[in-house]
């Protein structure tokens, strides 16, 4: 954990200040301020209805916040449309798997690499023979341990494999930071374990993940933020969070303490 100490000393890559979002009378995000440091794996946890998805949707640009500011790499991206966030280096994976089903696994990732390397108004050379697209794409597949399935159609993958592909595509855009929206959602124990292993192998990439699976969170995160009723009640290392009385009272006390 000495590495973690170094990371926390780094400048923040993303700064969230006073973020607020309400739906009717319900405040889903209540004055959330937190800094994500370069290179860290930061997890956001909280009981159901704590506003985790609302928060990540605002960070990825799908929901406009009512108030507050999101700064990413020194740039205010609070109002930046979702499709332009890919260009500033913020990639997200989807909670509901979203890949190109009729393409092969490698084609999927190569397309993500292609999207990152400028416009695609290239009409002649064959995309599948371009090593500057295929090689990085293949490397991403190795990173998520999916290289063996490179030439399989995405539609033939298992649910867990599609989630891996999803992450590989996000990596394909060479992001400065990765937003992972419940990467273990809908996975069996074995698949979850593989995913944890895979994400652990990606440490060094800045990641913000929202996750229900406590084993995963404590295994992966350098720092954890706890969200309760839209409010951030604590931020700290896994050990600090485990020992935080307010967290135990508000959240872990509800039966998850063992995990």
């Amino acid at each position: 954990m000495s590495e973690t100490a170094n990371k926390t000393a780094d400048a923040p890559i993303m700064r969230i200040e006073g973020l607020r979002k309400s739906f009717g009378g319900v405040t889903a995000t209540d004055d959330v301020s937190v800094e994500i440091h370069t290179g860290e794996t930061h997890a956001i946890i909280g009981p159901n209805g704590a506003g985790k998805t609302t928060l990540i949707s605002q960070l990825s640009g799908l929901l406009p916040p009512d108030a507050g500011r999101v700064t990413f790499r020194g740039r205010d991206i609070t109002r930046l449309p979702a499709h332009q966030r890919a260009h500033v280096g913020l990639a997200r994976s989807f909670q509901i798997t979203s890949v190109f089903m009729e393409m092969t696994v490698l084609d999927n990732v190569a397309l993500a690499v292609q999207a990152r390397s400028g416009h695609s108004f290239h009409f002649w050379s064959k995309a599948r023979t371009l090593s500057h697209l295929r090689e990085p794409a293949y490397a991403k597949l190795e990173q998520v341990s999916l290289a063996g399935r490179a030439h399989t159609r995405a539609s033939a993958l298992s649910h867990g494999e599609r989630r891996q592909l999803e992450v590989a595509m996000a990596l394909g855009t060479e992001p400065h930071m990765l937003l992972l929206d419940e990467p273990m959602a809908g996975m069996g124990t074995e698949e979850s374990a593989r995913m944890i292993e895979m994400l652990r192998g990606m440490q060094g990439t800045t990641m913000l993940l929202v996750e229900h699976d406590m084993d995963a969170v404590f295994a992966l995160a350098d720092r954890i933020s706890v969200l309760v009723y839209g409010r951030l009640i604590a931020t700290g290392t896994p050990d600090e969070i485990r020992g935080n009385e307010e967290v135990i009272k508000a959240y872990l006390g509800e039966g998850d303490a063992e995990s």
Binding site: H83, R116, R128
Partner: protein
């Protein structure tokens, strides 16, 4: 990477190569089609069956148009119900300049030069595709079908109302576009021009669909949300494809006008657009050679059925419904699966 390299064989960098299915069916299948087209008209001419020379010429010209439509339909998922308008515009581009040479007026475009006709056909269709596509592509699904059809009908009625060019009686031009060294009046020369044009179109569409541009088109067809999340604006790519597709159909129209020497608004009626779409889907929209198969089957059925019964469109409709419901990938898809089993 080494394992995958060993597994896939001889290519320069096999781990990164692609099995290359999808847009390419069995190469034998494609070769047979091309050989049949190359030999068809000359053989028919040799044995004196001029009627079949006409059929083959029509087949090749319509194949060019259908391949052009397939670029947006099969690759980009844009179901255009107005592509006959481009064919009509291309045909009039071959007829109107010659009309003014024969009957005077409109000096600026009065010429019999084939190159000028061709340039007008392609440019007018590209511009028309750009203007209408910019609007049509803001819609999706059924709305896209309806609005492309509406623009097609707009052109249809515009030419119906143009009395100078014969209105709905059409325009008969006995003088074909003139080119140096060759004469399109000779059926086999015209056929050779059409056949070479088809080869060029197939190669163009083959390159386009496999390029980075084509990848974006195919991706946007499958999952537009995800394309947007990657930071790509699918609209611009679709519009470009729509313009190229329109220009190809304009080119086919130019050939068709020179073939029939009779041009009428009926060529761009919405039923013609429907037929073109029918050919592409019947033959297999996901295949490069699919549209050719569709055109061939369409023409053969038209010839045989129209001799037997008046309402020959009825079995056509039933055939289309059956194809869409039960034969994934059209006739080419059927062949592809059959060939796959016998490999």
């Amino acid at each position: 990477m080494t394992m995958a390299q060993e597994a896939t064989g001889t290519d320069r960098n096999p781990a990164l190569a692609h099995p290359d299915r999808g847009w390419t069916v069995h190469s034998t299948f494609n070769s047979i089609i091309l050989l049949a087209l190359a030999a068809g008209a000359p053989v028919a001419m040799y044995i004196g069956a001029t009627f079949w020379v006409d059929i083959f010429t029509r087949l090749v010209i319509l194949s060019i148009a259908a391949t052009g439509l397939n670029l947006i339909l099969g690759c980009g998922g844009m179901v255009s119900f107005g592509h006959a308008a481009f064919i009509g515009l291309g045909a009039y581009a071959a007829g109107i300049p010659t009309y003014h040479v024969l009957y005077g007026g409109f000096e600026a475009i009065a010429t019999t030069s084939g190159f000028v006709h061709l340039a007008i056909a392609v440019v007018v269709c590209a511009v028309f595709a750009f203007l209408t596509g910019a609007i049509c592509l803001r819609t999706k699904g059924v709305y896209f079908i309806m609005i492309t059809m509406a623009f097609g009908q707009m052109v249809f009625f515009a030419f119906v109302s143009m009395e100078t060019y014969g209105g709905d009686d059409g325009l008969t031009i006995d003088t074909r576009s003139e080119f140096p060294l060759i004469s399109l009046d000779k059926p086999l020369v015209l056929y050779a021009v059409c056949f070479i044009s088809l080869l060029a179109t197939l190669y163009l569409v083959h390159r386009l669909t496999n390029s980075r541009f084509g990848m974006v088109l195919q991706a946007a067809k499958q999952n537009e949300e995800r394309v947007r999340a990657l930071g790509v604006n699918a609209y611009l790519y679709r519009l470009t494809a729509y313009v190229i597709s329109g220009a190809i159909c304009g080119y086919a129209g130019f050939l068709l006008g020179n073939f029939t020497t009779f041009i009428s608004p009926e060529m761009m009626d919405w039923t013609r657009s429907g037929e073109l779409m029918f050919m592409v889907i019947l033959g297999g929209a996901a295949y490069l050679f699919g549209p050719i198969v569709g055109v061939a089957v369409f023409l053969v059925l038209e010839q045989t059925l129209s001799g037997v019964m008046v309402h020959w469109h009825l079995p056509f409709g039933i055939l289309l419904i059956l194809t869409v419901l039960f034969v994934k990938g059209g006739l080419s898809g059927l062949f592809d699966r059959w060939a796959g089993k016998h490999e």
